[in-house]
Amino acid sequence: MTQTASAAEAGATSTAASDDVPTIEPRASRSWWRLILLLIGAAVFLFPFYYMIVGSLQKTANTTLSGTLPQPGNITLHNYGQINAALGLGRAIINSGIFTGGVLLGTLVLGILAGYALAQLRFRGRGLLFAFMLLLLMVPFQLLIIPLYVIIVRNYGLGNNYLGMIAPFAINSTAVFIFRQYFLQVPKELFDSARIDGANELRVLTRIALPLVRPAVLTAMLLTFIGPWNEFLWPFLITKEQGLQPLAVALGNYIETVSGVATNPYGAIMAGSFVLALPAVVLFVIFQRHFVTVNIGSAVKG
């Protein structure tokens, strides 16, 4: 679920920053129904996370209903210790961080340049670049994994290497699309007046355009983060050395192969899952109020 799913994040969105726009005055009874429906939904959505935490703390796997509540006699941090011993959680998280950080850096610097160029600058090859970007969004990554593997490992010599891991994700095209959308919405007159004053393009971009679209940049960065942090297939292919594997891959391998030797295999798996899930969730909760509405109409037609 990487490039293809994020194709839509072009329009991506979330809710308005100011969320007190009631649409209809609900009748009292119906609002209760709605609340109950939402509560049930929220419970269904959040239960697995709660269960993840409880399960990771269990000494022996307790799969009965009573096991959904933490039981004093069955609590231990041993599972965390075991998964750490098996995977080296610290190392794996650092690898995930390097991978994600590299992608964020590439997208932030090079993607913004490209998005701005596509939106506001007129140069030869602009249409071509835009067409290729759209094509990239349409073609699923999986078609390319085999040749990408050959190319990156042989021709570029980057097998088992952070650069090799980052390369196919270095510039997130969905983010470029979003940047372009937002830069398009900035009125040209602002740039023209700066150009009259004699600024070169780079200054125009950094001093004027960027501050105006900062919320969009944040949104795009958050979406760009989710991709590599959770990516399994590509790092799985390209790094066979345990010391380089990001946490998603290390945990996936663990689930597939050696979890059987742990005292409480499921407990160890869930301990690892919790560590993997935590940063993304925390980041999202902190930044969720910074999402802004996008003009979804234009993005949908595109």
Binding site: A131, F132, Y149, V153, R154, G159, Q242, N253, G260, P265
Partner: protein, 429 residues
């Protein structure tokens, strides 16, 4: 659309680029003499890691200018995939102490292996150590691209406690003929002593058949490999008999059909296991186990019953620069002393002639391993044929569909698999 025209225009450019990245020349013969530091991989089995580390350490003390770095093989669902990917990248180590014989044809085809016969006295060293049984490890061109290293003869482990609970003999359990085995299995399950009689992993990986079908096929046929002289052999009475046996086990739920993470024998869910001595370390302290040969239709004959070797070998890989050192190290790690240490530290059988006499004190102290040592003289190997991994996958898929999931008659499924395998084996690599 514009992008299509653009893509079409890019074709000539790409053709040029691709033509540039063709193949290069071959390796150099003088690399065989080069000395210097090398890297090796060993498996991630805890006992083997311990053995590997001490062996590397002792070599490094004696050879300061030819240091060896030892690493565990990276974890993945199969070691073949890891090694194959490393070969493609040119990043594999000099020696891998976990080379599956089934993967050797593929690695050879990739140009990833160094012929051990190309070293002076290479073939004779291998044959002197392993004896006549070494010849099955030769490649079709007559050279050795792998060195037979250790075997794990597959036998039936049984849980004495569970057998006692079911009222069965624990010293000579009735497990030598198919009918006896089936009856015992039924008793075990119906008495409630265990959930399953036996629980080989039903997953569809290409190598799983080595732990349910192949050992019993070896026993039933008296030592025939899956493919002989370019033709599949299992589409026969013997193959059908083995398939029918397992089909009954699955149909009557005496063997489980779901994949698992916990070893069921160690957990007590299954009364028996069909595996080699490497697993003993897992069972120590958890199960009071006994061991017997795999059953045959007519009844087994003590430890003369052939079985599958589950051998893991050593191979030297193409990206190795200091092949001289690698060859010396290979000999060092398979000396009488190191083989002895391998035996004592891991319980697996070095593929050396006469281990029972050479290491008599060990076997005296651990009589349970004697049966494996004796069995090691009667093992068969996977056939060294082209597309070997795919052959086993085809077999496994047919087995899964018919024997485990009952979607097709085993005879028909095996016949279909045989036809497909014959084609694959005949294909030019």
């Amino acid at each position: 659309m514009k992008s299509r025209i653009v893509a079409a225009a890019a074709v000539p450019l790409m053709v040029g680029l691709l033509a540039a990245c063709g193949g290069g020349g071959g390796g150099s013969a003088s690399a065989n003499n080069a000395q210097g530091p090398i890297t090796i991989w060993y498996s991630n089995n805890a006992q083997e890691v311990a053995w590997g580390k001490q062996m590397v350490a002792s070599w490094n003390k004696l050879h300061p200018s030819e240091q060896v770095t030892g690493q565990e093989i990276p974890a993945a669902s199969s070691s073949e995939e890891v090694i194959g990917a490393a070969i493609t990248a040119g990043s594999e180590p000099c020696l891998i102490y976990n080379t599956a014989p089934a993967a050797v044809p593929t690695f050879e085809q990739q140009g990833g292996l160094v012929s051990l016969s190309s070293f002076p006295g290479g073939a004779s060293y291998i044959e002197a150590r392993t004896g006549p049984g070494a010849s099955v490890y030769k490649s079709p061109d007559g050279q050795y691209y792998q060195m037979p290293w250790k075997s794990n003869p597959v036998m039936i482990f049984y849980n004495k406690t569970i057998f006692a609970k079911a009222g069965l003999s624990t010293t000579s359990p009735p497990l030598s003929t198919y009918s006896e085995f089936l009856a015992t299995a039924k008793t075990l399950v119906s008495s409630g002593a265990a959930k399953y009689a036996i629980y080989p992993n039903p997953s569809s990986d290409f190598f799983q058949s080595w732990y349910d079908f192949y050992p019993m096929y070896a026993a039933e046929t008296g030592g025939t490999e899956l493919v002989k002289s370019g033709k599949a052999t299992f589409n026969s009475a013997a193959g059908d008999a083995v398939a029918a046996f397992w089909q009954q086990m699955y149909a009557e739920n005496l063997a489980g059909k779901g994949s698992y993470t916990n070893d069921p024998f160690a957990a007590g869910t299954a009364a028996m296991a069909i595996v080699g001595p490497w697993a003993i370390a897992n069972y120590q302290g958890k199960v009071d186990w006994g061991v017997v040969p795999v059953p045959t239709t007519a009844g087994s004959h003590g430890d003369q019953v052939p079985t599958f070797s589950d051998a893991k070998n050593i191979a030297m890989y193409a990206s190795c620069k200091n092949r001289g050192t690698a060859w010396d190290f290979l000999k060092y790690s398979t000396s009488v002393a190191e083989d002895g240490k391998l035996l004592t530290m891991t319980g697996q059988m070095p593929m050396r002639q006469g281990i029972q006499q050479l290491y008599a004190p060990y076997f005296k102290a651990n009589p349970a391993y004697t049966v494996f040592a004796a069995e090691a003289a009667h093992v068969i190997e996977v056939p060294n044929v082209p597309n070997s991994i795919q052959d086993w996958q085809v077999f496994r898929d047919a087995w899964s569909k018919s024997v485990i999931f009952g979607q097709q008659s085993p005879d028909a499924a095996l016949a279909g698999a045989a036809t497909q395998i014959n084609k694959l084996v005949a294909a030019t690599p």
